[in-house]
Structures are given as C-alpha cells and as structure tokens.
Amino acid sequence: MAMFESLSEKLQATFKRLRGKGKLTEADVNEAMREVRMALLEADVNFKVVKELIAKIKERAVGQEVLESLTPAQQVIKIVHEEIISLMGGSESKIQLSSKPPTVVMLIGLQGAGKTTQGAKLANMLKKQGKHPLLVACDIYRPAAIKQLEVLGAQIKVPVFSLGQVSPVKIAEESLEFARKNGHDLVILDTAGRLHVNEELMTELSDIREAVNPDEILLVVDAMTGQDAVNVAEAFHNQLGLNGVILSKMDGDTRGGAALSVKAVTGCPIKFAGVGERMDALEVFHPDRVASRILGMGDVLTLIEKAQQTIDEKKARELEEKIRKQEFTLDDYLDQMRQIKKMGSLSSLLEMIPGIGNQLKGVEIDEKDLGRIEAIICSMTPEERTKPVIIKDSRKKRIAKGSGTTVVEVGRFLKQFEQTKKMMKQLSGMPGMPGMGGAGKKSASKKGKKGKKGKKGGQRKNPLAKFPFPF
C-alpha cells in the first residue's frame, strides 16, 4: 500500500537530513512540495487546485525557522493543513431560510450522486429541528425514482408530492401551492440526475429555478469523484448559481479531494456530508477533518465526538477513579467493551485514528473475537471478575467450557487484561476521559502495526494483541 503511505511519513523521510539545520531553504521545500503534490493528487484534488495550493504553501514554508518543538516535516504538514482548511472555509451547515415560507431547497447533480437519498436525509434532519418539510419528486426520467422518494418519505414520515411523469417545472410549481395550503414551511425538490454537458436537461433546471425561485440550490457531489469534479461543479454553478454542496458517500475510504476542488471552483461552502445509507446519516461538514483526511491523517475529531456521544460522562469519571486506584475490574472492562460496540464497528473506528487507518487496510478485524472475550468474562463468577488473580487452572477450565473457548485463550486474555490495567494506570494521569488522550492513540497505532505483522507471520488472530484496550 505504498500508494497510501501517509504524507507525514514521506515528509519525515524527505526532511531526515534536515535536523539541526537553521532554516528551510527553497531547495528543501521544493523537495517536500513534490511529496505534497503527489499526496494531494492521489487524494483526487484537482490538478489546477493543487498547483495554486502548492504555490501558497511554498511561499509560507520557505524561510521558516526549523523549530525545536516541531520537526520540519510536521511544520510543513501544519502549513499544508492550514492552507487546505483556509481554502475550504469555515463550516456553514445551515439552510438559508426564507422570510416568506415555504423555504425552497433544490437538489441537483449527476446521475448516481445520491440526490434522492440526501434529500430524504435532509428532510429528516430539518424535521427533527422542527420544520414541516415536503419532498417533491421532480425526477420523471429514472425508472422508479418517484417510488424511491415515496418509500423514503414514508420511512421518515415526510409527505411526498408527485404528479407522475409530467413536466418537472409544473411539478415544482404545484408543489409550492400544495405546501402553502398544507402548512409545509420547507420544500425539498429532488431533481433528476443529469450530465452537465446535456444542454436540454440543464435548461430544464434553469426553468425550474425560474419557476420557483429556490432559496438554496445545493449540488450533490459524490466524494469519490476524480479530477472531473471541477468541470461538473463549474458547469452547474455557471448554469444555476449554487448556494452550497452536499458531499455524499463520505463513509467510503476515498480521501475526498473532490471537496477541495468543488469549493475552489465554485466558492460555495460544503454544507453537509452523507455518511451512510441510513436516514440519519447526514452530518455537518467539518473542513478541518476533511483536510486531515485528504492528507491521510485520520479523523480524530469525529472519533472523539462519537466517543463523547456514547460514553456516559459520569461513568467515565467513575472509571477514571477506579483506574487511579487500580480497582479496574473485568466487569468494568466488559462495560467498556460494550460501550465501544455502541459506537459502531470497530474497524470503522480504527480507521479514524491517524496512522492506523491505512495500516489496517486489508487487515480484517474480527468483531467475533470481541464476542469471544465477552463470553469469557460472562462465564466468570462475580468474585472472579473483581479478583481475577484467583483464577487458576480449574477455574480456567470451567470458564473455557462455559464460554466455548480454550484454556489457553482464557489464560491469554487474563494476562492481557493485567497488562492493560497497568497501562491504564500510567494513562490515568491524563485529563479528560481515560485513555482517550494522546497516549492511548499512540499505543493503539503501535499495536495496529504489530497486528498486521502478526497476520503476515501467520500468528493466531487476537484482537487484543492489536488493540489492548478497546480505546
């Protein structure tokens, strides 16, 4: 996976000989910029956008003092990161509401970008915020597109307006009438997917715009889009004047360079990101996180946010206390494991950790192994869970039998638990949630490497070997 080697690793190598040097010279920076350029292009950032970015980054990097605290590589990464964020602008995930309801939102884009799905998700999100949305089926071309919107509408309990296969302009116009009569303060128009070079269909969009004068025209862009993203965004923007962008399919493993390209050519903010097929899988767009992702640095903030949503603050404090006093028991361990499970699949969580995501590509995390550990703990008596030291051979045999594992597995797990406990003790000095800070991250990443090697070497798969404590 040399292709996805992280930029920081590459830069680290480039700058190796620079240690102790006073300032970054133009020659030093040029070499680094080659790597930066590669990384951005591999992330599908448009070629021209990369060119402009590089020029800016270079200007800032040349002449920088080599600091004691940061390595030159880190310094350059920091500049690159900052420039990407500044290009992407702040997060602005709001729908411009009309002073005269209903507010009209029009979704447009290429075929298969995810307009219908994002439209329903958006309706769902705004409904939760107290709006009364109406979904409007303006895609009269694709087979069953209207039906799709109706099914989704039923799922989220949002009515769908459709007139069948009549002119989309007429549908849009009449939907507004319908909305006013029925007290809908928000109308979301789902239009048909079309190529930006199809003049006839592009004109149709202009006609709809003329007819209903939307408050928001949002372009839905597939996050996996390549260099062509600029052409697409430019064409739609020129034709209609966009207000914003929804980036779909961000739950894939694409670096998402299209985000940068689209923003650069249209100047429009990316307002939301689609992160799954479920109706609640629409998120606020965070430029800083996508900047990290484009650079292959992982998405720590999302991970932390997810953890915060799931992990009960009070419980976390209790836990910290226990760890400090070394009273951390197997029951607590089980509890933690279950909380982690609530956060989503382990592999998707691991992918968000910087440095680990790419190493884990292709390494399968067997979630069943976690189930096995759960079974082991559940097969212990309450006494055994608080005082695992009392577990000797005959108890191990019983536990193995009860959990459908082997004595060796039980033994190995107990040993790892002890090590984890020790490690947690060392970490407990950190502020906030135990293990959630930098140190936990580091160890997880180290273990990730080990896990991969282990697999190559044909060792037994053991999730704990990679991941001593599930966070």
Partner: protein, 303 residues
C-alpha cells in the same frame, strides 16, 4: 462495432476540454520535444484521472522510447503514446459464455454507478439477439430498487425474479437460479445492492450471494462484473481491488463515459489490477452499452 467509436468520438468531441483535443494540442502545438512538453503531457494524463504513478510511468516510458528511437518531431510522440496506452489496456476481452444454460452474470459495485441501468441495457441487447434473459432483483435494500429493475425488465422483455424489500438477497438469488434452470433461460443477470467496498458486512453479504450461485451451478457465475463510474477518481482502484478480493471480479463495466470524465481511470486500473474492461456505458439510451475495444479506444483518444 465500427459505429461505436464514431459515437464515442462524437461524444468525446462534444467537450472541448476532451483528453483527445488537449493531447493533440500539446503534440501539434509544440515545436520541439523538451521537458515542458513532457510535463504538459503528464498534466493532461493526471487531469484525465490516469493517476499520478501511472502518468509518471507513461511519461517515463515515452522519454525512453524517444531516446531509443531518436524521435525529434513532437507529432511522432502521439503514435508512441497511443502504443503505450494500448499496451497498458491489454487485449480485448469478451464476456464469457457458458457451454450449458444458463450463463450467469453477477453485477456488483458501489452505490450510484449504474448497476441496474447496465443490467437493463444488457438484457435488452441479449433479448434482441434472440436470447432468453431472466433478471434477479438482488438489491433488496435500496428503496424502490426492485421496481426500478422491473421497469427495465419490461423494456427489455425479460422477467424479473424478486421478493420484497428487506428480503435476504441470497434467498432471492437462490430462487432466481432455480427459476433460471427450470425455465431453461440463456442468461441470468443478477442485480445487487450498491455497497461501499470498505463495509465488511456488506461485502460478506456479497460473498454469500456468490457462494449461493457457485453451489447451485457448477462454474457459475460466468462473469462477476464490477460497474465503475468513469467520474470516479483514484478510489476506483481501491474499489476494483476490494471487490476482486471478495467476489473475484472478472470484468469491469465503465459507465458514464459520455460526460467530461475522460476514462483515464481505465489506464490506471489496468496498470494496477489487470481486471479487463469488458463493456462501456456511453449514454442513457437502452442501446448505449458497448463492448470495450482497447485498440480502438486508444485510437479514438488520439485521432
């Protein structure tokens, strides 16, 4: 087949920024072969989604050939580049047919690439050729996916085996295979739900679907076709790799080549994975699915 590339060229030439024109411009506009020319060429390839490493490789190869053959006229570079790209694209690869009925094709891919549309077009093409086609509605997840396939089935005159939304796709496929056998159809085309290649559970589900087919018909599926959106960037390579691991992809269908995305991704994919491109989608019409011809494709890029 002659008409295909006429049409393709037609579509390509619609966009003035097409790879064709731009490369031509570089070749004919330059007065001598120098670093600037190579760099410009590299830029064009990258912008056509060929990928950084493949682009660098192609340009490097070009440099060497120029030295070897002592080429000095920029116009001659075109011929060499064409050769190289054709070389990378590999031999033309046709869809595999089974000796005994039915021939089974499993259609897979991420969301929104055009799987169902491809199946509709393929079914129509086969039915028109006098073959009896059965469709399996294996996308039981997405809202109204079954209805979408049914519409295509009607257009093509092919029957659809389906269950309800939310049903186990492997069960639908099992039914479809049985029906295909008992009705002695020539082709069974299996539609599957769009799935992102990094979702382990969904990929496991796909593996299960494939196992059901394998168990019921000895050497089936005869093709596992990965549908790729030509607009996709470098992530396409990941898609091919991961779908290949799970479902042993035997061919690629490259769709949406009628936009401004320039199919450079094909070259990149061939360089990295060796899964041949078998079909291309160049329009929304039911007849806009064509065989992929590497030679002509490369030609069409430079004519």
């Amino acid at each position: 087949m002659a008409g295909i590339f006429g049409k393709l060229k037609d579509k390509l030439s619609k966009t003035r920024q097409g790879l064709v024109d731009r490369i031509e411009q570089v070749f004919t506009g330059a007065s001598k072969i120098d670093d600037d020319l190579y760099e410009e060429l590299e830029e064009i390839l990258i912008q056509a989604d060929v990928g950084v490493s493949t682009s660098l490789e192609l340009v490097e190869m070009l440099r060497e050939t120029v030295k070897e053959r002592k080429i000095s006229d920029p116009k001659d570079l075109q011929e060499v580049m064409k050769e190289q790209i054709t070389g990378k694209l590999g031999e033309k690869s046709e869809l595999r047919l089974s000796d005994s009925k039915p021939t089974v094709y499993l259609i897979v891919g991420v969301n929104g690439v055009g799987k169902t549309t491809t199946i509709g077009k393929l079914a129509k093409h086969l039915q028109e050729g006098g073959k009896k086609v059965l469709l399996a509605a294996g996308d039981t997840f997405r809202a109204a996916a079954i209805e979408q396939l049914e519409v295509w089935g009607e257009r093509a005159g092919a029957e659809v085996i389906k269950q309800t939304e939310g049903a186990d796709p492997a069960a639908v496929v099992y039914d479809a295979v049985q029906a295909a056998k008992s009705r002695a159809v020539d082709f069974l085309l299996i539609d599957t739900a769009g799935r992102l290649h990094n979702k382990v559970n969904l990929m496991n589900e796909l593996a299960k679907i494939k196992r059901v087919v394998e168990r019921e018909i000895a050497d089936a599926p005869h093709e596992v076709l990965l549908v790729l959106d030509a607009t996709t960037g470098q992530n396409a390579i990941q898609q091919v790799k991961l779908f290949q691991e799970v479902a042993n992809v035997s061919g690629i269908v490259l769709t949406k080549l009628d936009g401004t995305a320039k199919g450079g991704v094909v070259i990149g994919i061939q360089g990295e994975t060796r899964v041949p491109v078998k079909l291309i989608g160049i329009g929304e019409g039911i007849d806009d699915l064509k065989a992929f011809e590497p030679q002509e494709f490369a030609e069409a890029l430079f004519v």
